[in-house]
């Protein structure tokens, strides 16, 4: 039973004749509780696809259904984690998370219950100690964790992440990947994540959607990652299933969809 379905999604920017066709008839279904990664070269339209699911854009053709309803605008059933954290610099971490929580639960919950929700989601990402801090006072990795807490706090049905760790250094990225895996496990979230990091995709996903190069990007291949969870990045390094999957991804990205020399 598909939770999220994309039916023949096309996205064209600009006019029909001279516009730019970013996505060409993309179809995909995501089951509840599934972790799906979109991978591809930059400019292949994977972020556009995520923005369409988020409702920040409307597809030129086709339709997106989430939990039986057609998506035409953003909604609290979909939580978004942005690439560059997008925290509001004039609010503390606590206030940044509270902003969405109050919007979604303000009418049904008491102020104390709202506070509990914000604190719970910040402690889920281990940031209890930084609640009163402003974004400029914390590190890049911490900012991204607040971004994840903000998205999770509104208790979305699906979590959408646009290269959430792309701007972080390798070590911080690794620890946040582990933390995300733990959170997803604990909350049983449905996740669609955009990445261009092969190992990140393998570590986190149930399925990896490989996209062809634009213009007119489509889904090239879909790989199921049958590795047991929890996944340990050290053990994976010698796992043969992991190695096979990795080889398949690399082949797709660097042989079949090799970037033309610019």
């Amino acid at each position: 039973m598909a939770f999220l379905t994309l039916q023949d999604i096309s996205m064209r920017f600009g006019s029909r004749e001279r516009g730019f066709l970013a996505l060409d008839r993309v179809s995909l279904s995501v089951a509840e509780g599934e972790f799906v990664t979109l991978i591809g070269h930059s400019g292949c339209g994977k972020s556009t696809l995520l923005n369409l699911i988020a409702g920040l854009m409307v597809p030129s053709a086709g339709r997106i259904m989430c939990d039986g309803r057609v998506i035409d605008r953003p909604g609290p059933d979909r939580g978004v984690v942005f690439q560059n954290h997008s925290l509001l610099p004039w609010m503390t971490c606590y206030e940044n998370v509270l902003l969405g929580v109050r919007q979604v639960f303000g009418k049904t919950l008491s102020p104390a219950e709202l506070r509990d929700k914000v604190e719970a989601s910040l402690s889920l990402v281990h940031l209890d100690h930084a609640m009163a801090k402003y974004p400029h006072e914390i590190s890049g990795g911490m900012k991204q964790r607040v971004g994840i807490a903000r998205a999770l706090a509104i208790e979305p049905r699906i979590l959408l992440m646009d290269e959430p760790f792309g701007a972080l250094d390798a070590l911080t990225r690794a620890s946040l990947q582990d933390e995300l895996a733990r959170i997803v496990e604990a909350t049983r979230s449905t996740v669609v994540m955009v990445t261009h990091d092969v190992d990140e995709a393998l570590l986190l996903s149930d399925r990896i959607v490989m996209m062809t190069n634009g213009p007119g990007a489509r889904i090239g291949e879909i790989a199921s990652v049958a590795l047991p969870r929890p996944r340990d990045r050290l053990a994976l390094a010698t796992d043969s299933e992991y190695a096979d999957c990795r080889a398949r991804l690399l082949q797709f990205l660097y042989l079949k969809q090799r970037r033309q020399a610019a």
Binding site: L88, M91, Q103, H136
Partner: protein, 305 residues
């Protein structure tokens, strides 16, 4: 002899030595920029002093503008050469000492004049802020309103504030109200334009946050657009306070019964050149203070990244 002890060629030592020298040099340079300002001031005052020493011996000199203003009588007026620095400083001390004297309508101290000017500036300026910030927001958020009002703004903005003066006097029939109107009309534009630009230029990322969190329009305006525009609004307000302080001096020369502009003009009519120079210096100091106050407020109210 220390030098001979470390004569072995060693890069580390050489680096440390040159870094120390660099630091000393930097320290000296920092020292000199403040010192240079001071020396320059001394030189300028000294040149002024030399200039006025010669001037006082050449006998009475009458400014041609002044002669034009009051006609033949100018020739028989007492000497009016530029006063010496000591005379100006002496006059400054007197003026500051009697700053808040109030003996009759024509004899109030320079402090009262400054306060009158500041009062007018603040009144006109606050009115301008109250009108320009909401209007700027409306313009920034509504492209249609922006399109409709933009031609008027573009035409009205370059008009010299003083060009409004006769019209203001004629319609408002009150010189104080006219001066305040002039301040209002001259300080409204920078705030209006900057506020509109601030509201229009909110980062797409932040607007996307508002969208995905499903914020209501009111929440979006108060929690996202307004805080995001604060730095621009404060920039506009800082430009405006400078313009207002510029304009008040000229306005008071035309319509004042008091105020620092009136004071200068009055002292000019009395040929009190030293008082004029003191007043000019005070205008600069007050203007600087206003600017710094707004800069400080802007820094306090704007978000940090």
């Amino acid at each position: 002899m220390r030098r001979t002890n470390i004569s072995i060629p060693c890069r580390g030592v050489a680096d440390v030595a040159s870094r120390d020298q660099l630091r000393i040099l930097a320290g000296r340079l920092l020292g000199t920029s403040a010192a240079a300002s001071f020396i320059l001031l001394i030189l300028l005052v000294f040149a002024w002093h030399l200039g006025t020493m010669g001037g006082s011996q050449t006998g009475p000199a009458v400014d041609s503008e002044y002669a034009k203003l009051i006609g033949q009588a100018a020739g028989s007026q007492p000497a009016s050469a530029i006063p010496s620095p000591t005379a100006v400083i002496g006059r400054g001390v007197e003026l500051v000492r009697d700053a808040f004297d109030s003996q009759g309508p024509n004899g109030i101290g320079i402090g009262w004049h400054l306060l009158h000017s500041l009062g007018r500036v603040l009144l006109g300026y606050v009115l301008a802020v109250l009108v320009a910030v909401p209007l700027g927001f409306a313009i920034g958020l509504s492209p249609r309103l922006y399109g409709a009002l933009n031609p008027f703004i573009q035409v009205l903005r370059p008009i010299s504030p003083l060009a409004w003066m006769p019209l203001a006097l004629y319609t408002l029939k009150d010189s104080a109200a006219s001066a305040i109107f002039i301040i209002f009309i001259s300080s409204i534009w920078p705030i209006l334009i900057n506020t509109a630009a601030g509201a229009l230029g909110v980062r797409r990322d932040w607007l996307n946050v508002a969208k995905v969190l499903g914020l209501s329009p009111i929440t979006k305006l108060t929690r996202i657009v307004f805080p995001a525009a604060v730095p621009m609004i404060m920039t506009g307000m800082r430009i405006s306070i400078g313009v207002a302080w510029f304009v008040i001096v000229a306005a008071e020369m035309v319509v004042g019964q008091n105020g620092i502009g009136f004071f200068i003009w009055n002292e000019w009519n009395n040929l009190q050149i030293a008082s004029m120079i003191v007043a000019v210096a005070l205008i600069g100091i007050v203007g600087l203070s206003l600017d710094q106050a707004l800069a400080w407020a802007g820094q306090r109210l704007s978000f940090q990244e």
